[in-house]
Amino acid sequence: MKPHIEKLLATAALAVVVSLLAPGCGQKKSASANNAVSDAERKDMALASFVAPGEKDEYYLFYSGGHSGQIYVAGVPSLRHISTIPVFTPYPGTGYGFDEASKKMLGDYTWGDVHHPALSQTDSLYDGRWLFCNDNANNRVARIDLRDFKTKQILGPIPNASGTHASSFVTENTDYLFLATRFSTPLPRGRVADPKDYAKEFNGMITAVKVDPKDGEMSLAYQILMPPLDFDLCSTGKGPSSGFAFFTSYNTEMAGDLLEVNATQKDRDLAAIVNWKAAAEAAAANKGTVMNGVQVLDPSKVPGILYYVPVGKSPHGMDTDPTGQWIVAGGKLQPSTTVLNIDKIKAAIANKDFDGEFRGVPILNYNSVVEGEVPVGLGPLHTQYDGKGNAYTSLFVDSNITKWKLPPWTDAEKKDLTSVVLDKMPVNFSVGHLVVAGSDTKKPYGKWLVAMNKLSKGRHVSVGPSQPESSQLIDISGDKMKMVAEAYTEPEPHFAQIVAVKDLKPIEVYPKTENKDPNAVWDAKETGVTREGNKVTAKVIAVRSRFIPDRIDANVGDELIVHVTNIEQAGDMIHGFGVNDHNLNVVIDPGETKTFKVKLTKTGVFPFYCTNFCSALHQEMQGYLVVHPEGEPVAKAD
């Protein structure tokens, strides 16, 4: 019987040998190996995105600079950064935040958090006039004039509102732009309540800002008092959804702490549908109460201005399609987008097809208004449209973009909505927002999509731990999406707008005839330094390659006011006025006058000079500020 045992042992030995011979089998290489680009693909990509020296991009890309507080301008398809528009943060490059006018706009703030830029529209098309953007940090909104790409107005801090994240989104004719709060606070602001009593004591706010159709001047129109949900994003209606604005929110749980857990418990969150035309009428009829000078409407007391609808868990974007028919919400924590139908929403409102109410405001019956839940993938954030019936949704968790077909769907498609998912493309990495050229108009340009990725994770040469974000350009003109270029963007692009270059008409110099500054001087004879008590005023001309006058005398303790006019009328003849040792630099474009003030606190002779390289004798463009000890005779300037 001995052989019996031996046979058994032999079999065991064989098993051991087999397992020894197969170490690590099945360990596949990671996906990174697939990143290699073939020569043919390389050529295709280059030809699609290359803009030769001397040639111009076809589109402007205005992307928000997040907590850098600025707006950045890039070209599409080159993705080249072209210019920075300082908005909420001083920018010595253009002297922003140093002269009196921009200092006044900035107030006491030195930064902002720009999230969502919005181009002005007329009849649901970009009219090329203004670009608005919000400051999530300090509850402000700014207007940039696209005639000269300059920030012209900062409205705020807006009263009764904290963290205007769901903004700025304009209505189809730029009558209003909306700002909804991501953070809730006890109201009126300044009142202290315990965050433990969050649900009872805290409130959010939707603010409507009126935009003057002539000059774009923004003013507070009215506010709607909201429960303490965290409003995240917004879009406005057009066509059949005209007069409505749609806001997503998270934290339907109304948690005042540990939101990561406490605000992610419910399977759906409430989106708010605002009938802003009805709200405007109610505000005009004084149906609200005035808080901090703003008419605040309580939606439980003014019926017909607000409705809720449940959408996918912890949603981000809420985007109206170009026809105005479909509103798509992305639920970050559910693998699908919720598609709502405006006809059904209107019918549900008319028929009072409600599923209870929330704080006196009706909740629309979900099943009556939803068109479908499209299984796009993990972490859907934001949806854009090409105007050809396709939607593009960014997937943060999957790090993909999914292209899918908007309704109307066939019965077969409705039964299995995976069939409307047309294409999926990896982006690098973890895309937040994405933008399709003209997506929020009624006629998108289509063609290009830019994915704004939150992580670049070493795709660039190393620049240390502070890494840029990555943006990728995707050609969406064909059936399949095609990536063609990549660029690294300043912190931190949230949303962007793409507009065709042909639809903007910027100027290159400020015409002399337009300069209405009372302190502008155009002739050397008008320049000079005058004293009035302790106030010394200098009117200065900057022109290649001198300042007139190039000597300014004053006493310590004086307040020095300098009005400097760049009298050039040639494009790109920009001059700067930097003063040594005084933390001062203004930059004056051709035809522009800027004013700066400085309290003189130290004696000495301080050089000032042109900071923006202008000409062959730019280095010679300099002068002296002579600050005399108090009481000493002051030499007269010529």
Binding site: M1, I5, L9, S19, P23, T264, Q265, S314
Partner: protein, 206 residues
């Protein structure tokens, strides 16, 4: 039946030749060596983690890949989204007694090498095999517990699952590869050497 028992008894009383004794010593050496290498590796890939996140399991410790073992923290950070308990060295109490068991096996191997008797080889082979199967079972049970005791209040709710013991699997945006590493092969080799020690002396007579 009687014949079978007699044959078994005869087999157990067989002496070990020099080759077998050396193989037993080699097996002991392989176990000692296994201490310095990982037994198992779990390797997670996602679009955002092209280079992957690694978790190495030793007989006496768990160790993350990356700089200073940073992958372990990263894996725990990611797992908290689905409410999985963080992996902590202190929770793996078996890692405290495993080295002790290996020490015992090493002593028994050396004992068998010195005593030179087949019965000792069978003892240690059985104990070793049992311990191996038990360890893999315990490991699987751990994975099961980690994947099934998910915090119901986690931000992302996923169906309870058992992380993969061996093979490749997709979990949400992650592809997980879980495979034995060098120390596991050393242990397999050690078992095999014990087996071969028995094999080479199978026909020895007193």
């Amino acid at each position: 039946m009687d014949a079978l028992l007699r044959s078994e008894r005869n087999f157990l009383w067989r002496p070990l030749n020099l080759t077998s004794r050396l193989l037993l010593v080699a097996a002991a050496a392989a176990i000692i060596a296994s201490f310095f290498f990982p037994l198992w590796r779990m390797h997670l890939f996602a679009p955002q983690y092209e280079e992957g996140l690694s978790l190495y399991i030793y007989s006496h410790k768990i160790q993350g890949g990356g700089i200073d073992g940073a992958d372990l923290n990263e894996i725990n950070t990611l797992n908290h989204y689905i409410g999985m308990k963080p992996l902590r060295q202190a929770d793996f109490f078996e890692m405290q007694w495993m080295p002790f068991v290996f020490g015992l096996i090493i002593l028994l191997l050396l004992r068998a090498a010195v005593f030179g008797q087949m019965a000792n080889v069978v003892d240690v082979f059985t104990l070793f095999s049992y311990f191996g199967v038990f360890s893999i079972g315990a490991f699987y049970y751990r994975l099961y517990i980690y994947g099934h005791q998910l915090d119901p209040e986690a931000p992302m709710k996923i169906k309870p699952f058992t992380p993969l013991l061996i093979g490749t699997k997709q979990i949400a945006n992650f592809t997980e590869h879980s495979y034995p590493q060098f120390a596991a092969y050393l242990l397999i080799a050690a078992v095999s050497l014990v087996f071969l020690a028995g094999w080479f002396s199978r026909n020895e007579t007193v």
